[in-house]
């Protein structure tokens, strides 16, 4: 595995999040390096979603620290995490169905025209956004999106996922977090998304992959963090542990060996 030395690009220490009387996260650590895919697995209620929401700024942890490139950061809203170079692909994808692919890619970060048209009339540079959208999609090697002027609602599930991943890959300078990216997809489309995950990693990004799907995680992850009941119970690699062992640790049937 590469990139395991040096400062992690994203690190969390002792994260705690409590919802009323329910413990969402219980003293959870996480370390992520550039050029690696970290799988996060766990049963329902294991704290997977809460963990990534804290890392993406959608939730503010009650205690604990987050570091980006070794510097402490505080994310109060998703915009803060985004500005730090962390992009998230939510399970719901967060795309506007009636809008086209290029518009979705640049949603909430539109480019204005140069000169008074942009500064006074606040006119958008649609042509530039389309041009850049096409470049991003080509750079990420996404072949399933042909016409970037196509409305997202006319796309298949895998293509929509590709739009959301393309947006994250285009603007995430350091980390891309994917929440259950293959949950709604068929076999072939799942394969396409997993290839995208590898492409993101090969471009030097750090990827967090949250999934229920054990074979998917074992296929692409370099390391796998196992969550149980809001706590991190271990970090394994596909090389050292089998899927069955990971499930045993996840369900509490087995403790992680030394």
């Amino acid at each position: 595995m590469t990139g395991m030395t040096g400062t992690p690009v994203l690190e969390a220490k002792g994260l705690v999040k409590v919802f009323g009387r329910v413990v969402g996260l219980d003293d959870v650590d996480l370390a992520l390096h550039s050029g690696e895919v970290l799988g996060v697995i766990g049963d329902n209620g294991a704290g997977k979603s809460t963990l990534i929401k804290c890392l993406s700024g959608a939730l503010v942890p009650d205690a604990g620290e987050i570091f980006v490139d070794g510097r402490p950061v505080t994310f109060k809203r998703p915009q803060d995490a985004r500005e730090a170079g962390i992009e998230t692909v939510y399970q719901t994808l967060a795309v506007a169905p009636a809008m086209d692919i290029a518009s979705n890619l640049f949603l909430a970060r539109e480019i204005r025209r140069k000169g008074p048209l942009g500064s006074v009339l606040r006119m958008l540079d649609t042509r530039e956004m389309r041009h850049q959208a096409r470049e991003h999609i080509n750079r990420l090697g996404i072949r399933t999106l042909q016409n970037i002027n196509q409305a997202v609602e006319t796309l298949s599930g895998g293509q929509r996922q590709a739009v959301a991943v393309a947006r994250a890959g285009a603007f995430g300078s350091k980390v891309v977090i994917l929440d259950e990216p293959t949950a709604a997809l068929g076999v072939r489309e799942t394969g396409q998304v997993l290839n995208l995950v590898r492409d993101l990693r090969d471009q030097g990004l750090a990827v967090i992959l949250i999934s229920h799907n054990m074979p998917n995680v074992f296929e692409v992850a370099d390391r796998i963090q196992i969550q149980r009941l809001g706590a991190r119970v271990g970090v394994v690699t596909p090389k050292t542990h089998s899927m069955a062992e990971a499930v045993a640790i996840m369900t509490g049937a087995q403790e992680l060996g030394p």
Binding site: Q79, A94, S103, L107, R109, E110, R122, A151
Partner: protein
């Protein structure tokens, strides 16, 4: 098992089925999906041709001028209503706000002797403030827009009637506030300043919706509020701004109304609430939000007026216009349902 004979074509593969040319229905669907104002535009053209054939006075410029003048008030209101409906909301109180603002303008100018400009500005501020109240109730207390504006419809109507004390205000000829009703003649086309104001309003709102980030965010919020919020759009701010800009459009409509009735009348514009919604819906804007163009609402407002005018010229009972508009609303919503049903 029988051996397949040579003259029998093999069943098509999935790939072939995928690549077969789109049917006529699919093509029409795709075009309407991209151009939501196209179907109302076709209806308007067909209606004009039909009424022109029924009575050749229909196409006289004097008659078309009259239609344009009659459209100005509801047309302006519909521009504001479009913004709210695009956010998947609805404003049942917008007409009541307009009447209140028009009365405030007229009364301040006539009863209090305020000069025209400050009277206009105070009335406009009242319209924006009233719509801001709607917007705050929707964004801060998170009430459904239908319920909020059903309530404020009564509130604003009551305030108007209490403030008017049963009186109407007639402004003297030459008063500044009547400028909006002044005729502007281009050949034998006799428009009013109000008509030009409405056109300018559509220009500004159309530009903002199409060419600015604010416009895109408005569509995104109406399309999928949750998704818009996750992409980092400040949903509350966008929603509130939609109501406030609708308030500005309502202020324009109020001024045009003052010009048309010659002052302030608490009983004017009684049907304006529903008429503005009718214009927006006939204009192809989806009541479910996120789809539509403001130009469609102008076309929608014209369709309603053209039916009114054309049927009268053709000598039909005016109730047929009510019937026709009702059928058009149902047709428009049906078309919208069909347009929104898209599969990959």
């Amino acid at each position: 098992m029988t051996v397949q004979t040579g003259d029998q074509a093999p069943p098509p593969s999935a790939e072939e089925l995928l690549n077969r040319p789109p049917t006529l229905g699919q093509r029409v669907h795709a075009v309407l999906h991209r151009q939501p104002a196209l179907s109302p535009a076709i209806v308007l053209v067909l209606a004009c041709v039909a009424f022109g054939l029924l009575n050749d006075r229909f196409f006289r410029l004097e008659n078309l001028s009259l239609v344009a003048q009659q459209v100005a008030v509801v047309g302006s209101l519909a521009a504001g209503q479009t913004l709210i409906i695009l956010t998947a909301g609805i404003d049942l109180s917008i007409g009541a706000v307009m009447v209140l603002a028009s009365l405030v303008m007229s009364k301040l100018a006539f009863d209090e002797g305020l000069p025209g400009v400050p009277a206009l500005l105070v009335g406009a501020a009242i319209a924006v403030a009233a719509e801001t109240v709607n917007g705050l109730l929707v964004t801060q207390i998170k009430l459904p827009p239908f319920i909020v504006t059903l309530g404020t419809l009564s509130v604003f109507t009551a305030i108007t009637l209490i403030y008017a004390q049963g009186q109407t205000v007639s402004l003297p000829p030459g008063a500044f506030l009547l400028w909006s009703g002044k005729t502007v003649s281009i050949g034998s086309l006799h428009l009013t300043n109000g008509v030009l104001m409405m056109i300018a309003l559509y220009g500004v709102i159309g530009f903002a919706l199409r060419y600015t980030a604010w416009g895109r965010h408005l569509y995104a919020v109406g399309d999928d509020l949750e998704a818009a919020s996750l992409t980092g759009i400040s949903v509350k701010r966008v929603l509130l701004s939609a109501y406030m800009v609708a308030g500005l459009a309502t202020a324009v409509a109020a001024w045009i109304l003052v010009g048309r009735v010659g002052g302030g009348d608490p009983n004017s514009g009684l049907n304006a609430n529903l008429e503005s919604i009718t214009a927006v819906v006939i204009g192809g804007t989806s009541l479910f939000g996120g789809r539509g163009v403001v130009l469609g609402s102008l076309i929608g407002a014209f369709i309603v007026q053209v039916f009114d005018n054309g049927l009268a010229l053709a000598g039909y009972d005016p109730n047929y216009q009510v019937l026709a508009v009702g059928l058009l609303v149902i047709a428009a919503v049906s078309v919208d349902q069909w347009i929104r049903s898209v599969r990959a």
